[in-house]
């Protein structure tokens, strides 16, 4: 009997306790800065090194480059960049290896869609995903920078 009464006491006490329920759809959830949401791709910064596509464990990134239209500059510029969000696992490895922070994470996590087609994100979509971009990207896997100072 004693144990049961103790238990009843705990639940009764909880009745007046502070509630933990979030008013989620009404009040948006603020994620911490490091949160890994859908990526933002900066076309200008990308040097088409293909690191992100190579490190991706699920091979959901495909990209292609074209010669720089400015004849005075060397190298390639980004032509297409697609992420198949059906299989992306938001593991953060693509941003980790990017040497120029051209691909970075955002805090946007509301990814539900009505159609599978909507989950195919192209450069236009990813380039305009400019809200809540992550500040600290800690790209420890990138070739030049190496370990964090």
């Amino acid at each position: 009997m004693k144990g049961m009464i103790k238990g009843l006491g705990v639940t009764l006490k909880t009745m007046g306790a502070k509630k933990v329920t979030l008013s989620y759809p009404d009040v948006p959830i603020e994620m911490p800065d490091r949160f890994r949401g859908i990526q933002y791709v900066d076309q200008e910064k990308c040097i088409v090194c293909n690191q992100c596509a190579r490190i991706c464990p699920t091979e959901c990134i495909t990209l292609s480059g074209k010669p720089n239209p400015d004849p005075e500059k060397k190298g390639k510029v980004l032509d297409t960049f697609d992420i198949n969000f059906e299989i992306c696992i938001l593991c953060d490895l693509c941003t980790e290896v990017c040497p120029t922070e051209a691909i970075v994470m955002t805090n946007n996590f509301e990814l539900a869609a009505y159609s599978r087609d909507d989950l195919f994100k192209d450069l236009k979509w990813l380039g305009s995903n400019t809200e809540n971009i992550r500040q600290d990207n800690n790209n420890i896997g990138a070739p030049q920078k190496g370990a964090k100072a």
């Binding site: 144990g3 103790k6 639940t11 994620m31 911490p32 696992i89 490895l93 370990a147």
Partner: protein, 366 residues
């Protein structure tokens, strides 16, 4: 004379108490089980095969998805195996961070078990009590590595992120609160006579049986065997901290219950010490070659996950990808004893015993 018939009952794969897509085919005589056949594989994703085509950094996110209730320990076992193979040094600060997140994860994992186990037994509130506390751990993890469940936090040679500003203090606060909450848990459930009568003496086995079946974790310790890899084969920094191995006596569900709650308490003790001695600054990433290529050879590394001994066996041919990767998943091994325990028990005890083993289907099927 009444003619009776055996009833073949399919429990799962969609059943509230199988904790995922697990299926048991039970033969019932009335409500007494005469035979039980576990059927698994509904969540098989071929992690081990997939790993053969991925380099070691790429495998880490896959380990998150094995035991998704305790991803940090899975991260650790893989990184630890590769580090051992390549004889890499891990900076102290990184090792501290790893230990802290693993112990937090152990608490979170045992909280999930506690809540869902009580839900199986029919009590509704413990589930939400446990999850409201687990939520705080997940929030800490979210601040640390940007994800709540699939962390992908550890790297070969260190950790991805250093602790953000104030994180250590928030963790300290959480650990302090958790001690009080643990007392509340005991008040809410541990003394309840109905609960005790439900789990005392149920699913009993002795130490010899447990060892013969290869059980580990709380399932083994509940029989009184002092086997905790954190103590018996210390890895990480565990040898520096003062904690006890929680053991039971009778090897029944009640002892397993007490073992797990006791482990939460021991984790709190470890965390208190670790947070106290957390180094002020330092590297979080060791000196690691650009491409991780373990030398040709084999290694087996095991650590103590919340569910038991999780092992990682790597066969390397000196390439960036493993030749063969094998995980010894504690849930899978612990599950072996289930058919033996179920015979002669009632349907109600099926739930009690299965819950007491504490399986995670992502790990069973891998």
């Amino acid at each position: 004379m009444i003619r009776t018939e055996e009833l073949l009952l399919n429990v799962g794969p969609q059943h509230p108490s199988t904790h995922g897509v697990f299926r048991i085919v039970v033969k019932l005589d009335g409500e007494i089980i005469t035979e039980a056949t576990p059927v698994m594989g509904y969540l098989h994703r071929g992690t081990e095969k997939l790993a053969e085509n991925l380099n070691f950094t790429q495998i880490i996110p896959y380990t998150d998805r094995m035991d998704y209730v305790s991803a940090m320990t899975n991260n650790y076992v893989l990184c630890h195996a590769v580090e051992k193979m390549m004889e890499l040094e891990v900076p102290e600060r990184a090792e501290f961070l790893r230990l802290i997140v693993m112990e937090l994860q152990r608490i979170a994992s045992h909280l999930v078990w506690w809540g869902t186990y009580l839900l199986d037994i029919g009590a509704l509130s413990p589930f939400l009590f446990a999850f409201s506390d687990r939520e705080r751990i997940l929030q800490l993890f979210n601040e640390l590595c940007g994800a709540r469940l699939t962390y992908n936090y550890m790297r070969v040679g260190g950790v991805k992120w250093d602790a953000p500003e104030g994180w250590i203090d928030r963790t300290k606060q959480f650990v302090k609160d958790m001690r009080l909450r643990l007392d509340e848990y005991h008040n809410l459930v541990s003394g309840n006579e109905i609960f005790l009568s439900r789990i005392k003496g149920i699913g009993k086995y002795d130490a010899a049986t447990a060892i013969a079946y290869g059980l580990s974790g709380a399932n083994l310790r509940s029989t009184g065997v002092e086997w905790d890899l954190r103590k018996t084969e210390p890895y990480s920094l565990y040898s520096r901290f003062d904690f006890d191995i929680v053991t039971g006596k009778n090897g029944d569900c009640y002892d397993r219950y007490l073992c797990r709650l006791g482990e939460i308490e021991q984790s709190i003790r470890i965390l208190e010490q670790a947070l106290e001695h957390f180094p002020g600054d330092g590297e979080t990433m060791g000196k690691v070659p650009r491409v991780i290529r373990p030398p040709a050879g084999e290694i087996y590394v095991r650590i103590e996950s919340p569910r038991g001994e999780i092992g990682c066996h790597i066969v390397s041919k000196g390439k960036a990808e493993p030749y063969r990767l094998k995980f010894r998943r504690p849930s899978f091994v612990n599950l072996q004893i289930l058919p033996k325990l179920l015979v002669g028990e009632s349907m109600t005890n099926l739930v009690t015993i299965l819950g007491g083993i504490d399986i995670v289907l992502g790990e069973v099927d891998c």
